[in-house]
Symmetry: C2
């Protein structure tokens, strides 16, 4: 019986026993590999449930490929101390839990790390080379084949015969960089590169075919000069056959048909609304125990059929989920509601999306106005330029992707649109440092700098549900130019209120807190629910005034001089790198003002770490306690 | 006889006569279209020679396509006042002189504009929708099909039956966005989109096949679900046949084989070193008159064979070329020399390039170390991620493309590499406002903001040849992290000197000028030869001290306080948008310093205009006179 306050994992000695069986069993090894795959799924499930988030579906679809490569195919995998060692990495990267499970089973990383997924100093949500034997940082899609070619060029220059194996996803095939990278690899005859395409047929939201159909793949890859073979990627024999049929002249791609969530029956299916529930995030308790039970039964059957003992698991206390019972606000939900409201009146609005319909709060609009909803797939450049074309023909496009992708991939496309002086709204959820579990590929902490200098694009970050709705309404109905809306995606407990009848005034902030009616000598400026939440505690602690300043690249200097000239000390707290964040811009205004203000900036000074909310805020000294302490240290006289 | 101090063009009435012949001649129209094409080439040649720069080769290869589309195929071309009007734009955009020549011949833009190519208020170097009947801003490659799809979606929503015709280049096919955009257009059955691929087989430097071979194209486009046909793009019958064979279910691509430089025999060929001389820039006097003579003879023969008068041209005085006889410095040349020097010792250096071997000064390195030179074609994302792969394997990659592209297209790829903390050098010529002839797609005035916040990447812009060499040497041998080198590409007369034995100290500037040995109350900080050249004149005029401050995202605060605390007034002159340029960063340092300094910033406040050097500097108030005046106005007490 599984106890519902515990999480379960397979201990090291069970893994080692199977590993030895595989090594010593010769041609029968696939029986044991299958068992190992099943019990590694138990550990993957554990890691993700324990972490509170992670990608189950893609970890399960790619596991057999990783296992076969690492155990049966590669020479000295990712171990540069071995001459001619082979290299492996996954370009999609969100299958990291599968990679870690395999590496743990092989003793490449310490077993105890399975308790440390997405925790500081543990295993990051997406791969990072600072973990032993990880070959490349991935997590943003489409870069894999290019990186592999670079590695292969270096190998050739150094006389190494090491081969490169990478896994890419099928949703990932929508990214232009994949296709940009194919022909150069064929032109250079990089047969040392083998790409395994994990065709699990489901991307972030739903089926690839219904998101942005890929069309015929064999013809495509052949058209780019690659050797193509096909297999069942969850079947070791089929995989082996495909790997053995590689070309020695051309780069090789193996189109490996797999099942997303493979190994757990109910995780292989879409839900009743046609969405896939197990792409990211942790499974519910119910799903966790159900999946665990199914995997355990499968493992036991196979173990006992092979004359081995049935499986013993080890359990740990189930971690408490932070924030349960708090009255949180959900900015994405508020955004989605307002989008529908506005869409009823503004029939010129067209919503574009890059495979994040749920995460961007677009389900309502999509259902209500299907003719004005354009699903672009994971193709941000195409999406943003298409928005440009729409705007040129008099439509109001509202473009959606995570900030880390929307501000970067189509950066030049956003600028190109801006030079046409059309009006476009760019909405970028997943803004800022949190959640920190996915790691630096997903932490959008550069987007103020990336979009901020573009003439005619105003950046706004709302601090609660009400301001989110106001922001969208302002962008749609009032701003004659373009707007980039930065949205925190995690639900946040909000301990401040905007005044009744609050309206947006471009470039002006609003005082949220003062310790006394005569005000403080010190003002803190922040924006967004994450940093305002920390800053208000700090302000209460040290007795400072707190302002919400949601305009991230525009400052109304009259307001600034009028409201802020009275302060002796001014500090800006950025949910962004300090360099070229809002603080930098406000610093320049302070310098120009000639006011005798002691100015300071807080924000990120280094690439953000992966981890849980509290530890990450503390690490970067952006939690309430650190903010209070740093302000006190800096200003002395508050 | 052609006079060698004159430039020649075909007057409007000759064009109108031919236009009438074409309209009234029915099926014989192709005879007259051919004559019109020849004489429009005379005007294209005139426009480019008169402007001092422009793209001859691609204008000549695409001219027949544009002429046929605008005169014979499209309904109400780009005229939104006509119901169901068709839309045309060129995605590559550098064939703008051909477009303008056609539009002038059709009376869509005023004839006198032919004298105003690349001049302020005239016709921009790349298309801009603020010119009448221009449908989209282009100039950065690969966006065309995406924009066309956006336009088509808008047309469908509004019930317009307008079709979209675009031209793309063959070098452009190396860009990933092209391939990203294909399948969505096929999935949506956008048969109203017709793409003409101008396969002139030569890209910026040389043959496409030798730069980055495209492989088989018919198979590729078919693999993405497009209807493909082929034709001779310089032959009207062949073009008509291909256009008539379009599909009504699928989007259409016509692979139009053309000749770059078509119509002038010697402009259809590579030079003795295998490079193509007529991609950009103005032709030499010798080439101009030779081409003009050939075109005139061709036109006369055809005119007289058709019973028409031989051609009369109108002439204008040949404009003087600015800067002749000045002692200029060429930073790109210095860079290329130093790259070769360093390459001899540092055998771990690998140079990567995106089809700009000449413009980036890489001919020497390519010839001397061919095994360490990787030509990537116009594929910046692929190039930067490949550099990431090389660096992971212990190589020092040095990556090249124009700043406007290198800081944008692969922005996320640069960041991804930075998170791996490997060392890579990014070299970005064409930095800053000048040359302003190509227009805003090529003016790299956002790259400090785009790269500046990336941890571990230092931005440096040298001010002369010596500092260029020092910068590269520092990046290769001293900086343990990555460097982004911003290089002005135009030869500049330098009127300042760096002190003997000058060395780079990270984050520290150097005083270049003081009006008196006791110094001024006012300091100007600038960087790069363009703005330092203007600023030193301003400093002399108003009696200010001038500092070269080449570190664009890092300030040594000790140096800053030590050297600059003495000034009452401090102004930073940015060759970049003011917002999030060096000035913003220095402003924040001033604010933090609590020094009683009156601070000010000069730089770009709006999207830069296209034009000639002097008028553009003056327009943006960044010429020496304006700088002096603005500083005087701002500070009063200097």
């Amino acid at each position: 019986m599984l106890e519902k306050d515990k999480l379960y994992f397979v201990p090291l000695y069970e893994l080692e026993e199977l590993r030895n069986k595989i090594i010593t069993s010769g041609s029968d090894c696939q029986v044991y590999l299958n068992i190992l795959a099943t019990i590694l799924r138990i550990n993957i499930l554990y890691m993700i449930k324990n972490a509170g988030s992670g990608h189950i579906g893609t970890s399960f679809s790619s596991l057999e490929m990783m296992l076969w490569l690492w155990m049966m195919e590669m020479r000295g995998a990712n171990d540069s101390s071995i001459p001619n060692s082979d290299t492996f990495f996954s370009s999609k990267g969100h299958d990291a839990p599968a990679l870690y499970a395999v590496m743990v089973a092989l003793g490449k990383i310490c077993f105890n790390n399975i308790h440390q997924l997405r925790k500081m100093g543990g295993l990051p949500g997406h791969p990072d080379i600072h973990t032993p034997f990880v070959a490349a940082n991935t997590g943003s899609l489409g870069m894999g084949i290019s990186k592999a070619r670079g590695m292969a060029i270096a190998n050739r220059l150094r006389g190494s015969k090491g081969r490169i194996f990478i896994i890419i996803g099928d949703g990932e095939l929508q990214e232009g960089q994949i296709w940009e990278s194919l022909q150069p690899a064929a032109n250079g005859n990089f047969s040392e590169i083998t790409v395994l395409a994990d065709l699990n047929q489901i991307q972030s939201d739903r089926e690839v075919s219904k998101t942005s159909h890929l069309g015929p793949l064999v013809e495509k890859f052949k058209g780019f000069g690659w050797n193509v073979s096909c297999c069942n990627g969850n079947d070791f024999s089929s995989l082996k056959y495909a790997l053995d049929s590689r070309s020695k002249e051309k780069p090789n791609i193996i189109l490996a048909k797999t099942k997303k969530g493979f190994g757990v029956s109910f995780m292989e299916c879409l839900d009743e609304n046609g969405f896939y529930k197990y792409h990211s995030g942790a499974p519910s308790d119910e799903d966790y125990y159900r999946a665990l039970e199914e995997l355990t039964i499968t493992a036991d059957r196979a173990l006992m059929a092979s004359g081995m003992d049935c499986l013993l698991l080890v359990c740990n206390k189930k971690p408490e989920v932070a924030g349960v019972g708090l009255r949180v606000e959900k900015l994405i939900q508020a955004y989605g509601e307002e989008l529908c409201e506005l869409g009823k009146i503004r029939t010129d609005m067209v919503v574009l999306n890059a495979d994040l319909v749920v995460d961007c709060g677009l389900v309502g609009f999509k259902n209500e106005f299907p003719e004005r909803f354009v699903e672009c797939g994971i193709a941000e450049q195409d999406m943003v330029s298409a928005a440009g074309g729409l705007a040129l023909k008099g439509v109001l496009p509202i473009v959606h992707s995570f900030g880390c992708f929307l501000s970067t991939r189509p950066n030049e496309q956003i600028y190109n649109n801006a030079t046409e002086k059309t009006k476009i709204i760019y909405t970028a959820p997943l803004a800022g440092l949190l959640p920190a579990g996915p790691g630096h590929s997903h932490q959008s902490v550069r987007d103020i700098s990336l979009v901020g200098a573009i003439p005619g694009v105003t950046i706004f970050e709302p601090c609660n549900e009400i301001e989110t709705k106001l922001a969208l309404r302002w962008a749609v109905n009032e701003n004659p130019e373009s707007t980039y809306i930065r949205l925190v995606i995690i639900p946040v407990e909000i301990t401040y209120k905007l005044p009744a009848g609050y309206q947006l005034n471009k470039g002006q902030g609003i005082r949220l807190y003062t310790p006394s009616r005569v005000g403080s000598k010190t003002a803190i400026l922040a924006y967004g629910p994450v940093m305002l939440g920390q800053a208000i505690n700090a302000a209460r602690e040290i007795g400072a005034d707190l302002y919400n300043f949601p305009w991230l690249n525009f400052i109304d200097e009259d307001w600034f001089y009028g409201k802020l000239a009275r302060y002796k000390n001014l500090v800006v707290v950025d949910d962004h790198y300090t360099k070229f964040g809002l603080g930098t811009l406000i610093g320049a205004v302070v310098a120009k003002s000639r006011l005798d203000i002691h100015f300071s900036q807080l924000g990120l000074e280094e690439i953000p770490v992966c981890g849980q909310t509290k530890e990450v805020l503390r690490h970067h000294q952006l939690d309430d306690f650190s903010i209070a302490e740093r302000i006190t240290d800096e200003f002395k006289n508050i």
